[in-house]
Amino acid sequence: MVKLEGNPDHPVNRGTLCIRGQAGLQGPYNPDRLRGAMQRRDASGALRPVKWEEAEKFLVERLTGLVKQGKGKRIVVVSQLESGSLGRLLDAWAGALGAERMNYEPFNYEAIRHASRTVFGRDAIPHYAIEEANVLLSFGADFLETWLSPVEHARAFTRMHALKHGKAGTFIHLEPRLSLTAANADEWVQNAPGTEELLALAILRVILDEGLQAPGVDIALLRAAASKVDLQSTARQSGVSGEAIKHIARTFAKAKPGLAIGGGVAGTSAFAVETQVAIHLLNYAAGNVGRTVRFGPDSAFGKAAPYVGAQLLTQRMANGEVDILLLIHANPLFALPAAGGMAEALKKVPLVVSFSDQPDETTQRAHLVLPDLHALESWGDFSPREGVIGLMQPTMAPVFDSRSAGDVLLSVGRQVLGTPEGKGPLRWPAFQAYLKDQWRGIAREYSPATPFDQFWEESLRRGGAWKEIGVVPVQARSAPVQGKPATVEGDPQGLTLLVYPSHRFYDGRGANKPWLQEAPDTMTQVTWDSWVEVPAEVAKKLGLRQGDLVKVASPHGAIELPAYISESLHAGAVAIPIGQGHTAYGRYAKDRGANPLALLPAPGPAGLPFLSVKVSLTKTGGRRPLAIPQATADQDNRELARHVTLPTARELELRGAAPEKASHPSMYPDPKYPEYRWGMTIDIDSCIGCQACVIACKAENNVPVVGKEQVAYGRDMHWLRIERWQEGPAGHPETLFLPMLCQHCEVAPCEPVCPVFASYHTNEGLNAQIYNRCIGTRYCNNNCPYHVRRFNWWDYGSPTSSSHAFPDPLHLQLNPDVTVRQLGVMEKCTMCIQRIIAAKDHARDEGRLVRDGDLETACQQTCPTQAIVFGNLKDPSSRVAKSSRSPRGYHVLEELGTRPAITYLKKVTREHGKA
């Protein structure tokens, strides 16, 4: 396996992947992945390799002992949310043995589910049709980062938001912090932490007061809820002006349809459920329910167990009521707040069995480790929402001596029950057979007319089965709301702690993947570490500089992190991303940063309270500079990333104005391109800064990972980087994302300075770099105004080197079509020349030229918003040629006369100052 790409037919991703999906390959090929079954023979001893047969035998004996005594309830099976056959198998297995079964997911959005039940009487998380909305109003939902289904949302967001035929949707986002999602908003409204419910109700009140509600809604119900707040006190408490609230209310109500969503940190306060209730009411009032808020195609997250279950389990364990704990892809020691007492409770369990294939914190404490196959090595299915089931078959041989958890459980279960293969509740010889059996039921539901064998073949080929799910109509029934800011415990003088999921590491699962560690967090551009985001005013008061270590203390614990000084964070808050701070989990994750869950209280009835404490900051005096590759977010008036206002963009589009490219007279004749001139356009209006392309490029092109020190010293090797530029007031900037890669200039400054022709121009318009000709003068990179060339300062490629970037078995991921570069040579984006060559070969076999759409570069392929278009500029009908003629097109630093082959399309900005 060389690279992961989405299934173009899949209704959720349409072939694209997020940053974490792109990095998925570093799971099976992780050098710290567990290589076989392991057992702890005595309590104090270490985990030692054990034969699979012995391990299974041991587990069977212990399980049988309990089951025979009728103490099956003392066995607990815990998994992450498994929405497919494995989940059902676990249920069946637990049922057969009389064991307890639960799943838990760190981010389970259960507040939405509770609110849906309360308001609409439906225990589900609806599908949010963002693409249909004219105005998207988000209460802290980081839907472009982690919330529910970010890839799908990103695509939908571009569809609703991009200027098309003179129309463009508006996105208003309320959040105390300028998150990646907030940075993509047309209007980012900064509110005081925990005032989302208040604001939602105030907006509702304006809608009602001004009679903007949709016809036929239950006004009495709405008014009862809305009357809990008044505009003035809301404005005071939230810091959002009454005018702004009115403006939002009017924009939202008149959208027809609009869409209000809530999540992120806002969705996890003490009043999380009430916040979601208020948001549901907003959608209801504006007539969005059934249009953009769709019950029916519900999200799989609605099936995750409530957090309170995890807390109950912890208590049972602590009380010694659990004898055997089976963990299937669950790492509760890391993913639950320490205050919940899981670490202590775990000690009381005599036998902890982990099926994890990574040495995570919980697995390190397990007595028996039975590493599961990676999803790419095994059969599996997954249903992200109703009506969509993905089907996976093994795509690679197991890297190590791992076994499918399904296989092991079936075999162990049968042995415990004493039933032979083919009989009893666990009769299937292997998980594959179980899965196929499950799909018989799916076949009946999805395609009753097709014979099963045909359906199965087709589903395998298609990668799953999908169908339209009708929208279930719902009515608002009750509206229990609070109407006051969320309660936060701790020192009232302290700062509200915002703990938010990282778009790179999610709940921490990504932290062992070096690609994710090295990809900069787009908004801070920090790599390899975690940080505490401190408002500039607070930093000034404490005398903090960026990189100073800060002790963050809450009533539940304290951690130490380097400070990241933020001009834009709400002055009453500090923010820490989740995902780092592992104490185990392999070399890339261990002892890096700190886990902010240590500061949080135990989960309550509303789920994991990410917004629930106030913290105090103390400067420790130590320093740990952050590795930030971007020197400054200020463009210094160089107009690298450009924007136009919406009215101007509309006018340009209507007039079809030619791009305002400066003409650069040259003494030389224009170059000739016999067949192709490869080129690219990047629409920075669509770029959301998700970094998926960055990892796709790393995977495709064998780009080495260099480590924190080297990144900090300007030696990162990314061929493609996402730059974050900010304009306007520092506290409330306009953010522009600019994907920067080799511009393949027609008049490339890097080429003539190379003394050995290692850099030259092909007759297809590519700026070629011949690695084995390069002698490393680095003149080209000095002369590249974009500095997109990357020099091999160290020997990343050879296994004997101390800088080797591909330790066994990561080297198995290397793309065989791409050279691993040697020490001392320059490298850079090739526009995936290996793909161009393959496409040309293919076309030649068919006796034709490469057609538009025959090939995609790795970055283009994975872009969830399809901001990148690549192709042949010589062909005037190609997508790239058309889009490069866009009136929004420009070249970065075009005044230098480099004539890049990459055209950027300006971002379209909305008017500011209303919110």
Partner: protein, 449 residues
């Protein structure tokens, strides 16, 4: 003979035999002090060689370079050393053509300095290259794959300019030495006689030899003169041909040539002042020589200051945002100390040379010369490191920090230069026997001249 009265003119005018004796005397039996210096310099050189070895083994990352400073101290030192060489050629070739007779007693040392400085400079492109083991790819040699260098690249111009410069300097140096080596040969015995004999190529000083020698020497001087001007122009084009703000300037060729000569004069002073003392060469290197050198240093300093003003003025007057931002950043931000140090050393300190007393007061001359060397090294540093640090693209702006490895290599290059020079003064006549004699009155019987 028109001799200026100087404070040391009380020294008796030497005869031909005195010249031979005084100069050849410098070659015998080194003193313990000499060995002491040799060991110190040798140790530093060893450290430098070890550092380079480490860099080749572990990778270019051992040197503190990064994006955007893909070039740093190595190229700084390269330009510095090439520049040092220029004064030698100027003194030996250009002043020869102008018949400036005062050059005779110092040109040999200056020429040796040129050869060694170019040898030192020539190392830096190798040290600097990411894959120095393939540096020969820069040469146009026939090969199976028809791979040729890119003659459009300023680095290939460098290769040609510098290898020509080194070759011509060595030829010029050797041709000048030939009659002197013959003199040493005739004054020595045994194996030394054989070795010097071999290097003298059988020189006898016949009328025929002198006839062609003089003609060829003149031609070599006429070739070396445009060459020396071209070499630093070509070196300056390494920068001027690039796009980088602050580099892309037509000013660079004369600016670099003048700066080179300026720093070279300082280095000549640094070398001859102790040499005069060590070898008691007062009759030959007189205060008159120091005075003339001081004047030249002052003149080149003033010209350089003019170029500095031009450089800053152009950056400002161009209205170019990139140029202005780069200059402003250099002058006020992280590297401001280096920026102002350059002006102090190169423009202010040499002003004391307006005073005649300062020009003949060796400690003052020495201090000014050292300051000039520091200033000129930092001038190139300021062009390269801060220049690259704040160029077109704000994303990659950055600060370069030297490492132990590259610092040792740069210091080692000074050791390499001095060890060559120290070696030279003990094996070859460091003052030209023939040319000094030429400036003396011919021995005549009739008693008139």
């Amino acid at each position: 003979m028109n001799q200026h009265p100087t404070r040391s003119s009380a020294v008796r005018q030497p005869t031909y035999a005195d010249v031979n004796r005084d100069v050849i005397r410098t070659l015998w039996a080194p003193s313990p002090t000499y060995f002491g210096w040799m060991s110190v310099v040798g140790l530093i050189l060893t450290a430098g060689i070890l550092a380079w070895t480490w860099q080749i083994y572990i990778g270019m990352g051992a040197a503190g370079k990064r994006t955007p400073q893909n070039w740093a101290m190595y190229i700084t030192s390269f330009v510095f050393w090439i520049g040092i060489g220029h004064a030698g050629t100027l003194i030996s070739a250009i002043l020869y053509l102008f018949r400036a007779r005062w050059r005779t007693s110092i040109f040999r040392g200056a020429e040796a300095m040129t050869v060694f400085a170019v040898m030192t400079a020539g190392l830096f492109p190798l040290i600097h290259a990411g894959r120095m083991w393939f540096a020969y790819w820069l040469l146009p040699y026939p090969n199976q794959r028809y791979l040729w260098p890119n003659f459009r690249s300023p680095l290939v111009w460098d290769v040609f300019a510098i290898s020509t410069y080194l070759t011509i300097s060595v030829v010029f140096f050797f041709v000048g030495l030939m009659p002197d080596i013959a003199a040493v040969r005739d004054a020595s015995t045994g194996w030394k006689k054989r070795i010097y004999g071999a290097f003298a190529l059988g020189w006898e000083g016949t009328d025929r030899q002198w006839r062609h020698y003089r003609r060829a020497y003149g031609l070599l001087a006429s070739l070396a003169t445009p060459l020396v001007l071209s070499v630093h122009s070509v070196v300056s084009w390494d920068f001027a041909m690039a796009l980088v703000p602050g580099w892309h300037s037509t000013l660079f060729a004369p600016f670099f040539v003048n700066g080179a000569i300026f720093s070279g004069f300082a280095m000549v002073l640094i070398l001859i002042i102790p040499m005069r003392r060590l070898f008691n060469l007062y009759p030959y290197i007189t205060d008159r020589h120091l005075d003339a050198m001081g004047k030249l240093t002052l003149v080149t300093s003033l010209i350089l200051t003019y170029f500095y003003v031009c450089e800053a003025f152009t950056a400002w007057y161009s209205g170019e945002h990139f140029e202005r931002a780069s200059l402003f950043w250099k002058a006020t931000q992280n590297y401001a100390w280096a920026f102002w140090l350059q002006y102090f050393c190169n423009s202010l300190a040499p002003l004391v040379l307006f005073s005649r007393r300062a020009r003949t007061h060796t400690p003052t001359l020495y201090v000014v010369s050292i300051l000039v060397l520091i200033g000129m090294w930092f001038e190139r540093f300021n062009i390269i490191v801060p220049g690259l640090g704040h160029d077109f693209y704000p994303y990659t702006w950055g600060i370069y920090y030297p490492t132990v490895t590259d610092t040792l290599i740069v210091i080692g290059s000074f050791a390499w230069f001095f060890i060559l020079f120290l070696g030279f003064i003990k094996v070859m006549p460091s003052v030209s026997i023939v040319e000094v004699k030429e400036t003396l009155p011919h021995p005549v019987k009739a008693g008139h001249h």
